[in-house]
């Protein structure tokens, strides 16, 4: 199913229901991507299939100012438990095709940044070229926004690139073609449209609550309290003894 079918269908529905809302096509397209991303993550948790997996054969390896190797994530990924949004990272070198693909022989294992020190406690988990790891830093480094995967165990070698497979989500800024396929199974299109309509309805109704009509809409109790406040005796006046 293409974006064009879905977006125009949704626009028709919005225009017939909220004819003065002026819902634009880019706005609906954005809502579609927001809901589609949510449905993709939910669908992946249910099926754990590779429907949303993308493979990048050659992702350049950089070195930061501390000499640590890293790659920039080539696209948005699902934020799943235990870095499961990254299916694998492997050396971009087919060493022995008879034994199967490279990613089945040597792959980088995911680890949380805080657990890296623990790897060095055991001879068998210690990072090395034979036993490499990766960890993700996706917020900022020294105040600069990043979305990086750091590679551990490559301290003694230099590699130019790696192969990476990731479970990706949709980046709204990358949709340039309405005739592109929505990366969802067809059976989820109904859920997508229903949830976009709900989101649109919610967004359309929101402004009514924040419009200032000029009327006193305070609650009755509040109004009464305010009136009572003016009738209280002045505390500064001296009581008289009788």
């Amino acid at each position: 199913m293409t974006y064009r079918y879905v977006v125009y269908d949704l626009q028709k529905s919005f225009n017939s229901t909220f004819d003065d809302a002026h819902t634009t096509l880019p706005q609906i397209l954005y809502w579609v991507t927001v809901i589609a991303n949510k449905l993709m993550v939910q669908q992946n948790l249910v099926t754990n299939s590779d429907l949303f997996t993308s493979v990048f054969n050659s992702v350049e390896v950089f070195t930061d100012e501390n000499g640590r190797s890293y790659i920039d994530l080539p696209t948005q990924i699902m934020d799943l438990p235990n870095n499961s949004g990254i299916v694998y990272i492997t050396y971009n070198l087919e060493t022995c095709k008879c034994e199967g693909p490279a990613f089945a022989q040597k792959w980088f294992q995911g680890v949380n940044l805080g657990a890296v020190q623990h790897l060095y406690l055991d001879e068998y988990t210690k990072p090395s070229t034979n036993n490499p790891y990766f960890y993700r830093i996706a917020h900022s480094i020294d105040g600069v926004n990043v979305n990086r995967i750091y590679l551990l165990g490559l301290e003694c070698i230099e590699i130019e690139d790696v192969e990476i497979a990731i479970k990706s989500t949709i980046d709204p800024s990358n949709i340039c073609d309405l005739d592109a396929e929505i990366p969802l199974p067809n059976e989820l299109i109904q859920d997508l449209m229903t949830q976009v309509l709900q989101l649109g309805k919610f967004v359309t109704l929101m402004p009514a609550d924040i419009t200032n009509t000029g009327a006193d809409e305070r609650s009755t109790n509040e109004a009464q309290y305010s009136a009572k406040n003016t009738t209280l005796p002045d505390a500064s006046s001296t009581p008289t003894n009788q």
């Binding site: 235990n82 294992q109 068998y124 988990t125």
Partner: protein, 256 residues
């Protein structure tokens, strides 16, 4: 039982990771953690069963001392020999002597009973030299050793031989190398790693993993059908040929 057949680490990991549902090694333990547990299992089985025998040959040390090599325990046999390492000619068994000590190397030593009986002034064990020299060729060369803190110390008469051969028991491979797993230990090793996995996961999610850990513990340690005990029995049982020979020997010893 003797065997020269081994299973690969990958073979074990394939079964273990499937059983504990961690085929992608993303449940919190890296692949190396599993290999480390496999090594632990082999280490424990080695210490329990003495299955792994390691032979080392040395030139006889000038300091009369040899440090036990890494990854060994339990001295099994010590021989002195002439010839070459590849071709021993004359050999001599070396015996253990209680309380013998040349801990600072050299041929001088202390012992509760000296080999020449020189503590004859001892009022509690007097006249050993007189008593000894009259019996059993006591004045001849004596080949013995003792061990203190992993250092094997030899008597001075041992220096008459140029080489020494020592048989140890091993504790698997040195830490950091890929473990070697005999096939008849496969069940025990798999069950051991699974039990350790669930034991570790128990602290993360007790409600889910405690029941699984109990099952795994029972499967490993059951006294009748537990894989650990089965492995111990297997490795301690004799080869059929050994049994045959032993039966023939015992049955004939009183009837010749």
């Amino acid at each position: 039982m003797n065997s020269n057949d081994f299973v690969s680490i990958e073979h074990l990991l394939a079964e273990i990771s499937s059983t504990v549902n961690d085929m992608e090694f993303k449940r919190g333990f890296p692949k190396g953690w599993y290999i480390s547990r496999i090594q632990d299992a082999i280490q424990e089985l080695s210490i329990d069963t003495y299955w792994l025998k390691i032979q080392e040959d040395y030139e006889f040390p000038k300091g009369f001392q040899i440090k036990m090599p890494e990854n060994t325990f339990n001295l099994r046999e010590i021989y002195l020999y002439t010839g070459t390492i590849c071709n021993p000619i004359k050999s001599q068994v070396v015996y253990w002597k209680r309380l013998f000590n040349n801990n600072y190397s050299g041929d001088g030593y202390t012992a509760k009973v000296k080999d020449d009986g020189s503590n004859s002034a001892d009022i509690f064990q007097p006249n050993q030299s007189l008593r000894s020299s009259n019996n059993h060729n006591f004045g001849k060369a004596k080949y013995y050793y003792n061990v203190i803190n992993g250092v094997i110390m030899f008597s001075k008469d041992c220096a008459a031989f140029p080489y020494v051969r020592i048989m140890f028991n091993g504790m698997g491979v040195p830490n950091g190398e890929l473990p070697i797993v005999p096939r008849f230990f496969e069940r025990a090793v798999v069950d051991y790693v699974e039990e350790k996995f669930y034991n570790a996961m128990k602290s993360r999610d007790p409600r889910t993993y405690r029941a699984l850990w109990t099952d795994a513990y029972q499967k490993l340690n059951d006294l009748v059908n537990g894989s650990w005990n089965k492995a111990r029995k297997r490795v301690k049982s004799m080869d059929s040929a050994e049994k045959e020979s032993m039966e023939e020997y015992i049955s004939s010893m009183y009837h010749k």
